[in-house]
């Protein structure tokens, strides 16, 4: 159990530290790399409490896909670091306010958790002595009790995807496109004309 505690603090400290470095790093690409480090440590924390499915999904979705997109965008952008820094003091109050609100909410949740009726037991991701692994447990609850919410989430994502495609789709009239049907329908008679050129003349 002591090993568990040590590992927890190692990963937690690394996650928080990486999170701080996301904000503090001068180079935006380094920020994204620190974000990836934070994701990894969070995944490790998930593994520690036995939520292996969530850990893997976190790595696949966030590290494998989302952070790659971040990296793409950040690398492609021409960012002026000095200008990026300049607004720091101006936006500090708003940032601090948002941070405070989040902190208050976290405190509220943890207090109500500790004082609440189920507060005496710390809920583990998998009940002890579980016969099903947590992937199956998750699936069984997700596809029965929360089926409609789950499907709705999927539909919303679908709509968002279609929306993004519609927003970026442009039909340009001034582009000459290849028409394969027209190309295939061409015959020799339409395309080639044999001309008898008189001597010393031009066509």
């Amino acid at each position: 159990m002591i090993l568990h505690a040590i590992l927890f603090y190692v990963f937690a400290v690394a996650a928080v530290g990486a999170g701080a470095m996301v904000v503090a790093a001068r180079n935006p690409v380094h920020s994204v790399l620190f974000l990836i480090l934070a994701f990894f440590n969070t995944a490790a924390l998930f593994v520690l409490i036995g939520a292996e499915f969530l850990a893997m999904i976190l790595v696949i979705v966030y590290v494998g896909a989302v952070a790659v997109l971040f990296l793409f965008v950040v690398m492609m952008l021409d960012i002026d670091f000095a200008e990026l820094r300049s607004g720091f003091v101006r936006y500090l109050p708003i940032g601090a306010l948002v941070g405070l609100v989040l902190l208050a909410e976290l405190v509220l949740i943890s207090v109500s958790w500790a004082l609440g009726p189920t507060g005496s037991v710390v809920a583990a991701a998998t009940p002890s002595g579980a016969v099903v692994d947590n992937t199956r447990a998750l699936g069984e609850i997700l596809y029965t009790r929360y089926l409609f919410a789950f499907q709705m989430a999927g539909l919303i994502l679908l709509v968002a995807m279609i929306g993004a495609i519609v927003l970026t789709l442009r039909h340009r009239a001034d582009v000459r496109r290849q028409s394969i049907a027209a190309q295939l329908a061409r015959t020799r008679a339409q395309s080639v004309e044999v001309v008898k050129v008189p001597l010393g003349e031009h066509v």
């Binding site: 499915f53 999904i57 790595v59 696949i60 590290v63 896909a65 790659v68 692994d133």
Partner: protein, 301 residues
């Protein structure tokens, strides 16, 4: 003594031993599959291939590896030093850690985790970082463009691989690789899922840029994303290739170990399966690596 092996130190030692027991054969297999591939390519082009170091050139892969490791590492000016060195390390590490969950026989596996297949998928989706960071850290437009191209390609084929994995999971009813293998006791999934297997095969090849190497078509974009890394000596960690002008070294710069991992992944999912459980005396590994080797060599140049 038994208590020692159950203590922290003992478990650590056992784990290291298990890791070595997997990694060393993998690296040797990588060395000789490289040799094999180079020989076959050479014969197909009426050359001799490696034939100087050792009998029939059998020691060539090790000579290459040694040479590459001992070469001076030159970091190009303006390169992001840490990332430049870390990128190949990331790639190579990912190629090896994927082996942790591959079952070699019933119950013979380094880490028998419940979400083995997701772990493999996660590892393979991380592979893109080695590429994109290598390109970016080189501080060269050509390297960066090449990296973007191949990263885009890897990410897009990753999606297809994911969907094919879902079909396998549905058939097996488990995310554990051992149980997926066991589920194919009676019939290999490659039979009922043949179209999916074909898609998986193609996506896997494309994901690893095997048949069409457009990630580094030299006439167009220099060495692609590798043009700096490979010219400047970090390449030993990323590649088995040495000289870019050598004809049998014009193909892809992916470490064979990663391709081998991909091949074995394919094998474990679709083929490797029934084999070890039906024919117990036939150990699986040679069979799977054979399937893998066929993957590697079936690819036209």
């Amino acid at each position: 003594m038994a208590s020692f092996w159950q203590g922290y130190a003992g478990v650590t030692l056992i784990t290291i031993g298990e890791a070595l027991a997997v990694i060393v054969p993998v690296l040797i297999a990588v060395a000789y599959l490289t040799y094999f591939e180079r020989k076959v390519l050479a014969f197909s082009q009426l050359r001799k291939g490696p034939n100087v170091v050792g009998p029939f050139g059998l020691l060539q892969p090790f000579a290459d590896g040694l040479k590459l490791l001992l070469k001076e590492t030159v970091v190009p000016s303006g390169a992001n030093r840490l990332v430049f060195i870390a990128a190949p390390v990331v790639t190579f590490t990912l190629a090896l850690v994927a082996w942790a969950v591959i079952p070699f026989d019933a119950g013979v596996v380094v880490a028998n985790i419940n979400v083995g297949i997701l772990y493999l998928f996660a590892i393979s989706s991380l592979g893109v970082y080695g590429i994109i960071l290598a390109g970016w850290a080189s501080n060269s437009r050509y390297a960066f463009l090449g990296a973007l191209r191949s990263a885009a390609q890897m990410v897009s084929y990753e999606v297809a691989i994911g969907f094919v994995l879902v079909t396998v999971l549905l058939c097996a009813g488990s995310l554990n690789l051992g149980r997926i293998v066991e589920a194919q006791r009676h019939v290999w999934f490659v039979v009922p899922l043949l179209p999916m297997a074909v898609i998986f095969f193609i996506s896997g090849l494309r994901n690893q840029s095997r048949p069409v190497r457009h990630r580094r078509r030299r006439e167009r974009i220099g060495g692609g994303l590798f043009c700096r890394i490979f010219r400047h000596g970090v390449r030993p960690l990323l590649s088995r290739r040495i000289r870019q002008h050598d004809p049998d070294q014009r193909d892809d710069q992916r470490p064979v170990s990663r391709r081998l991992a991909g091949a074995v992944r394919r094998a474990a999912l679709h083929l490797g399966a029934g084999m070890d459980l039906v024919f117990r005396q036939d150990r699986v590994l040679p069979v799977r690596v054979f399937v893998g080797a066929r993957d590697l060599s079936a690819v036209p140049l």
